[in-house]
């Protein structure tokens, strides 16, 4: 074989192998929360667990990519995804118009409502009521917009303490978080009641957020959602973590 051709073949081979290596090493950076039971939390073994964690793994399997789960917080995750620090975020984000301006959203993987969690006499519009809401959450944005006094929380985990210590009179949380919060030992004895709030700003489509730098990823995530819903993985995960079917 003449030298130029051999060199060409060799370089082609190198390029190809490099490409394959890159494809194999293609890791999706997935943002998740760690203090939002029962969807995302650290279990007794110190490992990430919950509905969203399993969904994230299932989606990565369906997309046939290796995923690296990275813990973030609700107040930072949207901007981080927007900045491309994460490729996707499997955080139960309501697809609000404000967030849509920053990141791409997949098709909804379920629909959510919010829950007002407070003593029976404390209705949502009671003047002067201090409402605990997680920083960066749609609930916090809603409370602020309504002019309520917001007690900002770092995570849903902190809420039980805030309620127990009377740092807050009420909590405004997503429906799945409310499931865990209600049962937290610290608040179980407070005799708080729950009211489902179906206001448009507090309910609706929950989506995977995708870095706007990777628009092609959205199609793959959508297809993966369809796939895990069709092949039953979604329902199994749902049943494992939650007492009813997400829709």
């Amino acid at each position: 074989m003449p030298h130029p051709i051999r060199r060409l073949c060799l370089s082609l081979l190198l390029v190809l192998s490099a490409h394959v290596a890159h494809a194999a090493g293609d890791v999706l950076r997935v943002a998740v929360l760690s203090a939002s039971p029962p969807v995302s939390y650290i279990d007794g073994n110190g490992k990430l667990a919950g509905f969203n964690i399993d969904i994230a793994h299932a989606l990565c399997e369906a997309m046939e990519v290796r995923c690296e789960l990275r813990v973030s917080t609700l107040d930072k995750v949207v901007d981080a995804v927007a900045a491309g620090e994460y490729d996707i975020a499997v955080v139960s984000l309501l697809a609000t118009p404000e967030r849509r301006r920053k990141v791409l959203f997949s098709k909804p993987y379920y629909r959510s409502t919010s829950v007002w969690f407070a003593p029976a006499k404390t209705a949502p519009e009671t003047p002067g009521v201090r409402v605990a809401a997680v920083r960066g959450s749609a609930q916090a944005a809603y409370a602020q917009a309504r002019g309520w006094t917001v007690v900002p929380m770092h995570s849903h985990d902190e809420m039980s303490q805030a309620l127990a210590s009377a740092a807050a009179d009420a909590a405004l949380v997503p429906m799945l978080t409310a499931l865990a919060l209600r049962q937290h030992p610290a608040v179980a004895g407070l005799g708080l009641t729950t009211t489902v709030l179906a206001d448009a700003a507090l309910s609706g489509d929950v989506c995977i957020s995708i870095a706007p730098q990777h628009p092609a990823l959205r199609t793959r995530v959508d297809a993966a959602i369809d796939r895990i819903k069709r092949d039953g993985r979604y329902d199994r995960i749902n049943t494992q973590h939650l007492p009813f079917k997400l829709q």
Partner: protein
């Protein structure tokens, strides 16, 4: 060739004809393929819709049905839970499910879930739970299960519309395929018929016409063909027939010119020699008799000198006519030289030949020959005969020549048989003036 009639007939170039036919079939086939493809596309579309839309919807219906069961299960917990916390949690789940947007979208589910939540909330607030309430819950419970069944079945039935649509498309595809096959069959039959009618049969006619083509036969009878190429061949066959007939006529003319003497119409010497050779050889081979002879018009030169060559020619022509009348079909005669004639008599002994030529001699001697301008002459004939059954033609002719010479020397107007002592005495007509020559 009836050319004008040809021009009036339909005529197609075969290439154009078949290109048109192929184009027609191609268009037909493409149409059918498109027709079938439309159905297949429909099936694919429906399959895609079934996979991407209907099945996910069905699964959503199943989840809704399952949530109705969740309402029932959690309701049981609200009513019969171990402790207050568990009962409150169960009631919370009930309220979450009952206020979920998806459930609210379904009228039946919304009404029943609302009723259930209301009942359970009342129970949780501490309304007395007695047998009547238990019966009420059992009815609610049954209705929840029944509605779950209904919604579950509704979800499955969503696929029915798609399946029916698909089945209809496949059925229609089957019909279309049958029609397509039928059309292809009809087209093929028509094509074969056209090929047979316009190609094979004209070819068969041409083959027959060519094999039966005779130069002097009737012109080839070819039925009208519709293809230009065949019409050209048919025309060419007609022309070929004409050319063959022309050349045959020419050949016959040439043969006659080559074998006959122009003045008398008798065979010429060359042709006679050729034929006489054949007769002599045949006679030798089969041991049959054959006789030859030479004859010379007596004093013919004098007729020429006295009355001119035209008169001489007339005499020769009259003599030739007498020859033709007197001799038999099988006898050969030719103008051997100026006024000299040769004979060959197949199957004839010299004696029989002598009788024959004697008749000839006498007829000539008795005839007044008109030579124009009202003049008539008489002329006599001297003949030498020889037997050729045992010697070559040339030798026999030599003998006949010697016999002729003897006839001349012995007074003319007589027949001398070679090998005999003397010839028959001629009957001389002394009144044969003005030309009764005697040399």
């Amino acid at each position: 060739m009836p050319l004008p009639q040809r021009l009036n007939r339909a005529h197609w170039p075969a290439g154009t004809f078949f290109a048109l036919l192929a184009g027609l079939f191609g268009a037909l086939f493409a149409g059918i393929v498109a027709w079938l493809a439309a159905d297949q596309y429909g099936v694919l579309q429906t399959t895609e819709s079934l996979r991407l839309k209907t099945i996910p919807q069905t699964l959503e219906y199943q989840r809704l049905a399952r949530n109705l069961e969740v309402l029932r299960r959690e309701g049981e917990r609200v009513l019969h839970g171990d402790d207050a916390a568990a009962r409150q949690q169960a009631l919370f789940v009930v309220s979450l499910v009952a206020s979920h947007p998806r459930l609210l979208e379904d009228e039946r589910a919304r009404a029943l879930a609302g009723e259930t939540e209301e009942f359970l909330s009342g129970m949780a607030r501490g309304t007395h739970f007695d047998a009547a309430e238990q019966a009420h819950w059992e009815r609610l419970s049954t209705r929840l299960t029944l509605l779950a069944d209904d919604i579950s079945v509704d979800g499955v039935n969503l696929a029915n519309a798609d399946l029916e649509q698909m089945s209809a498309a496949i059925q229609s595809g089957r019909y279309k395929l049958a029609v397509a096959l039928l059309l292809a069959g009809v087209f093929l039959t028509v094509l074969l018929w056209l090929i047979r009618r316009h190609f094979i049969r004209p070819l068969q006619h041409i083959d027959r016409a060519l094999s039966q083509l005779q130069p002097m036969g009737p012109p080839p009878a070819l039925p009208a063909s519709s293809m230009e190429e065949f019409q050209a061949i048919e025309g060419a066959i007609g022309q070929l027939h004409e050319a063959m007939r022309d050349s045959e006529l020419t050949r016959e003319d040439l043969e006659r010119l080559a074998t006959t003497d122009a003045l008398t119409g008798l065979h010429n010497r060359r042709h006679f020699m050729h034929m006489a050779h054949g007769e002599v050889e045949r006679a030798h081979r089969y041991g049959r008799p054959v006789a030859v002879g030479l004859a010379d018009l007596d004093l013919f030169k004098r007729v020429n000198d006295t009355h001119g060559h035209a008169a001489g020619d007339a005499v020769l022509q009259v003599f030739a006519a007498i020859l033709r009348e007197t001799l038999r079909q099988t006898d050969w005669v030719c103008r051997y030289g100026g006024e000299e004639f040769a004979f060959a008599f197949p199957e004839t002994t010299p004696t029989e030949a002598q009788a024959l030529v004697e008749r000839l001699r006498r007829r000539l001697a008795e005839l007044d020959i008109a030579i124009g301008e009202g003049k008539r002459v008489r002329i006599t004939l001297s003949i030498g005969l020889a037997d050729a059954s045992a010697c070559p033609l040339e030798a026999a002719l030599r003998q006949a020549d010697e016999a002729l010479y003897r006839a001349k020397t012995q007074g003319r107007n007589m027949t001398v048989l070679a090998g005999s002592d003397a010839g028959d005495e001629a009957e001389i007509d002394a009144e044969a003036e003005p030309v009764a020559p005697r040399s």
